[in-house]
């Protein structure tokens, strides 16, 4: 029953976080400890994904308190995929941080916070207990506060205050919903709840509960109309931190939303479907409209994150296996791509001397390779083939037509078109326009080139060889719709039922 691979990503992250905290003043050692640690984390998560993909879901219980009483960690393909991608993104960001986060910022604790953030994110992806999910949310939230105010500039404090208050209210709402969930089912183990829900005959107000969960996770994921904290704060921290947040945090909200609504409360999700469809469409449009009106490229990317959340919600609204598979694929693609885009923004500012579109110019002439790399990523976010953004949108549009929701398909395509305009304009102004006065004679450092190249390779790889990922995401979506393997791994003796 106990499989150490399940818990090792979290143990590793917390252990390294504690170690790095002790090495707080030895700034030159921190990267040397953290980066090999993150490589190890990627390997562990890859091994975990391999095992889960070949043998089905794996469960580990703490202290032999068998489910539903003890806290169980259950990993299925969905969780393992998300955890692996999160580790890859964090590794890329930690390389990039070598050139950006030095000296005093490291003493403020960038690497310890990064590790604890990853512990929270991995824990949220791997846990099989709803209250435990809440605890991991708090772990990642408090470390994200630390990262957000790295540097203590007034803008950061302004952004952090709004971020902190709204996110804390969201997790408190989540806690209320967890309390009600326990009151209804008398258990917090996800598999046990799934069994009890599928057994039916409950007069409990599950619809209200699902609505509460939708509000709480919608706030975490920055879905309309509770999305305003994101563009208020994501452009204030260091670019490495923005890249990490864009890659990891909102996706944890989407993950939890899918886990709770699709796996635990499927009937209520179907009931909320029309509402989620409207939220998805409006979120997509609000995001892309905000991006069209933004002058600071970091703010523009913040709005693009929101628009991506809308696209992911489209699959949740549909609820079919194909729709969910598209959502999961889109989430993985978005984690890699949004991180890469923020790093591109950081490099554009490094080379061009600012984040504002009115200032930037001449990047194409200055560094043709960087321009080419940027163009690949811009194509990918617009959903153009042959890059990673194309396939999840194909799957989602197909699923929308299969469900007869042509307006949802139309919204996805329209938003793709508007995103193309947004990034076409960036390329026109910042890359093709003749060089501005602010342009620096800086060159790209290898710390920046390496993660950008790696992430771009992933984006191109996802686009050129999508079959294996499509197979995995399809299996993951199927496992959410019919969680027999998940239940069997938690309750092996009873053959999937208690």
């Amino acid at each position: 029953m106990g499989h150490w691979l399940v818990i090792s990503p979290i143990v590793l992250c917390i252990g390294l976080g504690a170690l790095l905290l002790m090495l707080r003043n030895r700034t030159e050692w921190q990267a040397a400890v953290a980066i090999p640690g993150l490589v190890l984390l990627v390997l562990i998560d890859a091994a975990l994904l391999y095992r889960v993909a070949s043998d089905g879901a794996v469960t580990m219980v703490m202290g032999r308190w068998l489910p539903p009483f003890g806290i169980a960690f259950t990993v299925d393909i969905f969780g393992a995929l998300m955890a692996l991608t999160a580790a890859v993104v964090a590794l890329a960001a930690s390389f990039y941080s070598l050139s950006e986060i030095t000296g005093s910022s490291r003493r403020y604790g960038f690497f310890p916070f990064l590790m604890l953030l990853l512990a929270g994110v991995s824990g949220a992806f791997l846990t099989g207990d709803v209250f435990n999910l809440y605890v991991w949310f708090e772990v990642l939230l408090i470390s994200s506060f630390g990262l957000l105010i790295l540097g203590s500039e007034p803008e950061q404090i302004d952004g952090a205050l709004k971020y902190a208050v709204l996110n804390l209210i969201a997790t408190t709402l989540f806690l209320v919903s967890v309390g009600y969930l326990y009151a209804v089912f008398g258990t917090l183990n996800m598999a046990d709840i799934a069994v009890k829900v599928r057994a039916g005959d409950s007069n409990a107000p599950l619809m209200t509960l699902a609505g509460l969960f939708l509000l709480a996770f919608g706030m975490k994921a920055a879905a309309f109309p509770v999305n305003f904290w994101l563009p208020a704060s994501y452009h204030t921290p260091r670019i490495t931190v923005s890249a990490l947040f864009a890659g990891l945090l909102t996706k944890v909200g989407i993950y939890a939303l899918i886990r709770i609504l699709v796996m635990l409360l499927p009937v209520e999700r179907a009931g909320l479907g029309p509402l989620v469809t409207i939220i998805a469409i409006v979120t997509m449009l609000v995001g892309v409209m905000g991006a069209l009106g933004a002058n600071d490229i970091r703010r523009m990317l913040g709005y693009i994150v929101i628009s991506g959340i809308g696209t992911m919600l489209a699959g949740v609204a549909l609820g079919s296996v194909d729709g969910l598979s598209g959502t999961i694929f889109y989430a993985l693609h978005s984690m890699v791509l949004m991180t890469a885009l923020y790093l591109i923004a950081g490099q554009a500012a490094h080379l061009g001397g600012g984040f504002s579109l009115t200032v930037l110019g001449g990047l194409y002439r200055q560094n043709g390779w960087f321009a080419g790399l940027s163009l690949v990523l811009f194509f990918a976010i617009s959903g153009l083939p042959p890059f990673s953004g194309f396939w999840p949108k194909v799957v989602l549009v197909k699923a929308a037509f299969a469900a007869g929701a042509w307006w949802l398909a139309a919204a996805i395509l329209l938003v793709g078109f508007l995103t193309t305009i947004v990034f076409g304009r960036v390329f026109l102004l910042a890359y093709w326009r003749s060089a501005a006065a602010s342009a620096t004679a800086e060159r790209m450092k290898w710390h920046a080139t390496l993660p950008l190249l790696g992430l771009t390779l992933l984006v191109v790889g996802f686009g050129l060889f999508p079959e294996w990922l499509l197979r995995l995401t399809h299996a993951a979506a199927l496992g959410l719709e019919q969680p027999t393997a998940y239940l069997q791994s938690v309750f092996p003796a009873a053959g999937g039922a208690q």
């Binding site: 209250f131 605890v135 708090e138 939230l141 408090i142 506060f145 105010i149 203590s152 007034p154 803008e155 950061q156 404090i157 302004d158 952004g159 952090a160 205050l161 709004k162 902190a164 208050v165 804390l168 209210i169 408190t172 806690l175 209320v176 967890v178 309390g179 009600y180 326990y182 009151a183 563009p231 208020a232 704060s233 452009h235 204030t236 009106g293 933004a294 002058n295 504002s356 579109l357 009115t358 304009r425 026109l428 102004l429 326009r433």
Partner: protein, 125 residues
Amino acid sequence: MEAVFAVVVGIFFTAAIYLMLSRYSIRIMLGIAILGNAVNLLLFTAGRVTPEVLPIIQKGVATLDLAAANPLPQALILTAIVISFSFLAFLLVLTYRAYQALKTDDTDEMRLAEPEERPLPPLGY
């Protein structure tokens, strides 16, 4: 007992939401402090409040007396209290730093990260 507590929880939530809707950051903090307590009290009440019955399975019976209080929500609250306390401590410091750095506690005037007059992106090439 539970009915009284339910009313108290309702009052707590009302006060918390009222305070959090304020423009002033210190009132928002007070609202958050009350909100955390409202949630804890809610969970506590949901687990039954019966000091008369021991939550111990009696000899010769297989299950716990139905009237006994459920100890699990109390364990949950213990975790939640610690978490909300540490968050509140952080938020109070953050608010004070925001007051120092931005010279205001009025959230309408905290426009440093999002200036009111934002330049539009260039409209021509």
